[in-house]
């Protein structure tokens, strides 16, 4: 199939800041089996596929200059969501503020899910947000587990664009399916992806399926970059040779050497990297074991806007990475007492996810949360809902030492150590500020000082009764990655 299928208005990318170097794994275990991987991204204790999806989606919207209100469809692709059953796009939509009447869909089943989500977006009538996020896991002594990284990529897609100078055009798309059982799979109920490790068979499955999709596309053309599925840092180059794309183009379209296997997000992160470097013709080929591949050709006469936070800036040792992944976390202690029920948590999602405060109808001051009598004038005249800005100033702060956390937060401390807790004054849209208690995500253990500026991020708060709670935390501005 050829011809214009839609346009890409903007691309976002996100990967956790922590890196586990291949050398650290080799030192610890005596061997490192993931070819072409120099380091893998390790999620923080309070990050998962959904929080990374939100981070990438926010960046894609910002890059595209699209307001969240304009999003008419939200498509989420992932193989490692926190729940095997439960509509994940609903949580993502709430975190982002996507309209309740937007069309949503969830794609999984293999790492080709991102391609399927993109196909759905290109078929949609209006502005669609496509997000792929993953944090695969595997046995620590197997190649799949050692390659396992993390990340998320997002695209804002529309049928057409008013400003053709800033978009990428999807000129062709194609798919190819070939049954190859046993190359890479995860059994029901398991956290770990594995495979039989029949190397020649695995490579053939990947090569044949990717090449089949590219053939169906009408050949590789002469891309500046080829974002090929990267289960490790070596397979994309093997596939490149098979389909006739040079190593430079493959290299320009993969970040696997740095972040490892990002699952369904792999090719979107590759695309973000390629477009950010100015690629005018990009081949995008998500592949999923089993197997299926989808191929897209994206042409841009000029730069497609990209916003990404992918590069790592903190290195973990082997034990440190295992700790963050939860190897030494024995869960929430038994107890009783303080408790926030799921329905009462759900009632506050606009506040937890989007910092929705209220302007008192009587005195005009800002209230957070916007309910009950106004703390300023005691009136109960109601509130006009207003979203606080995502930046604020620390008013009071403490660092909670290990052992000092409420039980719900014990697993987080077991994985990531101390955290800070602060009262932050967030600015309102038309002046004024509201004070909000928030946790501070620490990269090194240095809490911000009173008066320091912080930025809101979405993270996991805690799990209770099997239900994960997400909410706003903050990162000190001076500790942010560029």
């Amino acid at each position: 199939m050829s011809g214009p299928h839609g346009v890409v208005l903007g691309v976002g990318g996100y990967a956790p800041r922590f890196r586990l170097p291949a050398a650290a794994v080799e030192d610890a275990l005596g061997a490192f089996h993931a070819r072409g991987v120099e380091s893998v991204a390790v999620p923080d204790a309070d990050e998962d596929s959904l929080t990374m999806a939100a981070a990438a989606a926010e960046r894609a919207l910002a890059a595209a200059g699209t307001t969240v209100e304009a999003v008419e469809a939200l498509f989420l692709a992932a193989t490692t969501l926190p729940y095997e059953e439960e509509a994940a796009p609903a949580r993502l939509a709430s975190m982002l503020g996507v309209s309740e009447t937007a069309r949503t869909a969830q794609f999984g089943g293999s790492t080709a899910a991102g391609g399927e989500a993109l196909n759905a977006a290109l078929d949609a009538d209006g502005v669609a947000l496509v997000v792929a996020a993953d944090a695969p896991r595997g046995a620590t002594d197997e190649a799949v587990g050692q390659a396992a990284g993390a990340g998320a990529g997002a695209l804002v897609v529309a049928p057409e664009a008013a400003d053709a100078d800033r978009v990428g055009e999807v000129t062709e798309l194609a798919s190819f399916t070939a049954a190859y059982p046993g190359t890479r799979f995860r059994e029901r109920g398991s956290e770990e992806t594995t495979g039989l490790g029949v190397t020649a068979y695995d490579r053939q499955a990947y090569r044949e399926t990717v090449a089949g999709a590219v053939d169906a596309l009408g050949g590789p053309g002469e891309p500046d970059a080829a974002a090929l599925q990267a289960p490790d840092g070596d397979l994309p180059f093997r596939a490149g040779r098979a389909i006739g794309v040079n190593a430079d183009a493959v290299s320009a379209g993969t970040v696997a050497a740095d972040v490892g296997d990002a699952g369904a997000a792999s090719v979107f992160l590759g695309l973000a990297s390629a477009l950010d470097d100015g690629s005018e013709e990009t081949l995008l080929v998500p592949y999923g074991s089993g197997g299926v591949a989808h191929a897209f050709r994206i042409r841009a006469d000029c730069r497609v806007p990209v916003r990404q936070t992918v590069g790592g800036d903190r290195t973990l040792g082997f034990a440190g990475a295992q700790r963050r992944r939860g190897a030494f976390d024995s869960g929430v202690p038994a107890g009783g007492g303080a408790y926030v029920s799921v329905p009462s948590y759900r009632r506050t999602l606009p506040q937890r996810h989007r910092l929705v405060a209220g302007r008192c109808e009587a005195c005009g001051s800002l209230a957070f949360p916007p309910e009950g009598a106004c703390a300023h004038c005691s009136a109960r005249d109601g509130y006009e809902h207003v979203a606080l800005s995502g930046t604020g100033t620390v008013e009071a702060v403490t660092t909670i030492s290990q052992g000092g956390a409420p039980p719900e937060f014990v697993p987080q401390q077991a994985r990531a150590g101390e955290y800070a807790s602060a009262i932050v004054a967030f600015q309102g849209p038309d002046g004024g500020a509201a004070s909000v208690p928030v946790q501070v995500v620490l990269a090194d253990g240095d809490a911000p000082k009173i008066g320091d500026e912080v930025v809101a991020v979405k993270r996991v708060l805690y799990d209770q009764e099997g239900v994960r709670r997400y909410g706003v935390k903050v990162v000190p501005v001076d500790a942010r990655r560029p």
């Binding site: 949360p369 909670i400 030492s401 000092g404 009173i450």
Partner: protein
């Protein structure tokens, strides 16, 4: 309205007592209060008001009758829950009952058992009086909330971590003379400032312990009081505020404390200058500094100077927490407010033993619930 008097008061030791139950502890406190009132007969008591939080989940419903019936007081009993200010409020209710004429003798007290649950389970319960939906979900218990207030105080005023430690050094020195104190040992400034950090800037020495214990106070009308060693309840004031610190206009004051003090001073006709001895709510060291200012003992920001000058030492112009305070004497949540009044009653009636103050005529008790969602201030005056 007629006056109300304390005619007897007693408490158990505060500490960890695996062989005692919440009922046996309360009964001991009742016995000591009755003994203090020259063996007043239990049947003379008209009603009882009991404060407890219910840490551990023991008998959360009907916890009042559960202890008064055990202690042999078959009287109408009301349980008061205002977190750590529960029994301070119980005493206020007793004063209201006596002043109104509905009762002539009311037993007001409280109890808590906190040492018989795991450290992990205790944290579930220590958090229950914080603002649960928002504050707690940032990962704070009370140490964290008071630490945030301390951060704001140290940022705003000329105060240091050593000033927090001076509170601990003073109160431990006082508690070392109190045989019923939970942590009856002395500590040095270096130990206090160098202690392991619980929630920056608060170290372990800046935090009170979790204790078992009970306390009981007999509040009676003037007619009854004439026959006993009595201290007049000159005034009692109480106030509420937002439960979450983030919901308040200030983090360097506990507005409910200031409002409760103002009401108590107004009712009594007394002022901060008249106070000879005070038991203040020092659950965390910063809380004692805030109390000095909220209670009018000094101007805003001057609490560290007052402390450094020794004014609140045992031999100072205004001794504070001569019992050791929550810091050293201990903090069995529901018993703490009544325990403060037990100490004042002893001081004002000359029964304080080794730590008896020479000229104590007016005593002030200051009891705070949570991080300031409730506060109650009681002023006692010695009978001439």
């Amino acid at each position: 309205m007629r006056d109300a008097y304390v005619i007897g008061a007693g408490q158990t030791a505060f500490g960890a007592f695996p062989d005692e139950s919440y009922r046996s502890l309360f009964a001991t406190a009742v016995d000591r209060a009755l003994e203090g009132a020259d063996g007043l007969e239990p049947r003379t008591v008209d009603e009882a008001v009991v404060g407890t939080l219910g840490v551990g989940g023991r008998q959360i419903g009907l916890s009042g009758p559960a202890v008064t019936e055990y202690a042999g007081l078959s009287v109408p009993t009301t349980r008061v829950e205002n977190a750590c200010a529960a029994s301070g409020y119980a005493i206020r209710n007793a004063v209201q009952a006596v002043k109104s004429g509905m009762a002539d003798v009311v037993l007001a007290g409280g109890f808590e058992v906190m040492s018989d649950v795991s450290a992990d389970a205790a944290k579930y319960w220590l958090g229950v009086s914080g603002e649960t939906e928002w504050e707690r979900l940032t990962g704070t218990t009370f140490a964290g909330t008071y630490a945030q207030m301390a951060s704001a105080y140290l940022d705003e005023y000329d105060a240091t971590v050593d000033d927090l430690s001076r509170v601990a050094v003073k109160n431990h020195a006082n508690g070392a003379q109190n045989p019923r104190a939970h942590l009856g040992f002395e500590c040095s400034l270096e130990e206090a400032s160098g202690g392991s950090v619980v929630a920056d800037p608060l170290t372990l020495y800046h935090c009170c312990p979790t204790s078992d214990g009970a306390a009981a106070v007999l509040v009676a009308s003037e007619d009854v009081a004439e026959s006993y060693d009595a201290a007049r309840i000159a005034g009692v004031g109480a106030a509420s505020d937002r439960v979450g610190v983030f919901e308040r206009d200030t983090y360097t004051s506990i507005p409910a404390s200031a409002a409760a003090a103002e009401a108590a001073y107004e009712m009594s006709g007394l002022g901060p200058d008249d106070v000879d001895v005070a038991e203040v709510h020092d659950c965390f060291a910063i809380a004692e500094l805030l109390a000095y200012e909220d209670l009018g003992f000094c101007e805003r920001g001057e609490a560290p100077a007052l402390l450094r000058a020794g004014d609140t030492d045992l031999d100072g112009a205004l001794p504070v927490n001569v019992s050791g305070g929550l810091k050293s004497k201990g903090h069995p949540i529901g018993a703490t407010g009544a325990g403060q009044v037990v100490e004042l009653y002893k001081q004002l009636t000359g029964r304080a033993g080794d730590r008896q103050l020479a000229d104590a005529d007016v005593g002030l008790a200051h009891n705070v619930g949570g991080s300031g969602g409730a506060a109650v201030v009681t002023l006692l005056e010695a009978e001439p």
